[in-house]
Amino acid sequence: MAQSKPQNVFAPWNDPQEKPLIRFQNVTKRFGTFTAIDNLTLDIYRREFFALLGPSGCGKTTMMRMLAGFETPTEGTILIDGVDVGPIPPNKRAVNMMFQSYALFPHLTVEDNIAFGLRRDKTDRSSIADRVSEMLRLTRLEKFAKRKPHQISGGQRQRVALARSLAKAPKLLLLDEPLGALDRKLREQTQFELMDIQEKTGTTFVIVTHDQEEAMTVASRVAVMDHGKVIQVDTPAGIYETPNSVYVADFIGDVNIIRGKAHPADGGLIRIHYAEGAEPILATPTQPVAAGQDVAFAIRPEKIVVAWEPDHSRANHARGKIIDIAYLGNISTYHLELPSGQKVSAQMTNARRLARRDFTWDDEVWLSWSDTAGVVLQD
């Protein structure tokens, strides 16, 4: 968890001395009457691996296009390295972008596509050739160097687009869903390559992804967006463990949302009454909660223990009936129904072979979780 990390960890956003590389200041972008980006204020620091996450159409590509210089903000300013980039055209920005649609040049070979940006810089021939073959090796495209884009597969095309944007080693790299078309294994390898490149070159990455796991693996921070607004910016662990809203909790990973009314209890804790006759949930709020306030209790499935007996080392217990079991090899997910009718899912690792086969459909079991296992959200 973010709080328990050692002090020397990379966290420039906590350092008031640190100057951001990118600063969005009250940026709004409208297309006609439609607001694609809504009063966005955001800092991204040097050497970050910043992930943008959000549903389709929430404005991720638009944000990148403004950084690359293809769209100008309707209001507000964007600073890169402290300079207002408003008047700077795309070809004068030390920013490279990998397009969601790849935008490979159809009349050039894979090799020439990758070399395209290098040739614009009047670099000498042999160093261009070296760089291109390095990129081909990195993206495992050596065999396809002489082919045209229409002669290779979708995943290979995606890698060409990636190689082309990486070739110039810019100080800021914008990747719009760079790995979506790759199979799992290749995607993981490429993720590590990207992190490695970043380690070596100190490039700042802004990456759009629909894959939460990817965001969690590679990102230093994640921004969760919705309808042109950034809802929460935090480290992957922060987003996962302390979401600031039901939207974020629900967007990242699986979560159980239990709605109820809060009542103060001893030691700053609260009791959440969520159903008639059910024992209230004891929880630790992160912010003060007024008596009788409506709250949502968000708890991840893996934080709930399923057993025949209540676990008395944990503060909360509830009876539940198993209505479905999803066996996923390493873990099993149980879908349960509480006596109040509330549906809850719980996840257990299958530490021993066939160990939990004794739970089956319609079994009455006990659910237990501690008072710090979930988050109290007010919205």
Partner: protein, 272 residues
Amino acid sequence: MNRRLTWFNATSLTLGFAFLYLPMLILIIFSFNESKLVTVWAGFSPKWYGELLRNEQFLDAAWVTLKVAALSSTLATVLGTMAAYVLVRAGRFPGRTLFSGMIYAPLVMPEVITGLSLLLLFIAIGLDRGVFTIVLAHTTFAMCYVSVVVSSRLMTFDRSLEEAALDLGCTPFEAFRLVTLPIITPAVISGWLLAFTLSLDDLVIASFASGPSSTTLPIKIFSAVRLGVSPEINALSTIMIGIVAVGVITASLVSKRAIQRQRREEVEGVRA
């Protein structure tokens, strides 16, 4: 589906083609007529082709026509491509509708009016009529055909390719030269060929814009025919039919193949 020709289809096809090509066929046959009389067949002979080569006037006119066609189609291609690019790319600027309307208007304008207005202009600015004025006149009316052909290609052109080029450090002009132009080349070539053939067979505008020192082949033929059709004219026309046919067939083959290839590339690109 039954794709064989029915009796009815075969008849309409024959009639249609006969209607289109019978006159030309007769012209070609009579160009090999031994006799000086155009309507009486007196045996096969290629002699009128030989006569033609010795006819200085026709050769001069042919040379002027080719020169005019090559120059004006090239100019029209440059200007038409530029206009198409501006119209498709510049987005909404004030007067865009007016501008595009004005580019396409000459397409539907009667040639006599275009020719007459050009003539008045040349007289007004005191330009001596000759090869130069014919080139200008042909450029004017051919460039709108070019811009129609090129802009229809640009409409389907993926804009993000140009953005990618800018992103990789191209100036807007370099992006055009290195990315846009190579991709739209087949359309530009068909535009050029269209302009070339239009100029080659234009009679109306050329007769307004030409001077006594310079006549194009269509003008020459037209005035010669008024004195009576000679087998020599038939021979000349046969040669022109040959040139145009070869040109049109090559052009359509070249552009068809290029367009098919690009389609394929684009479809594959979209599928990715």
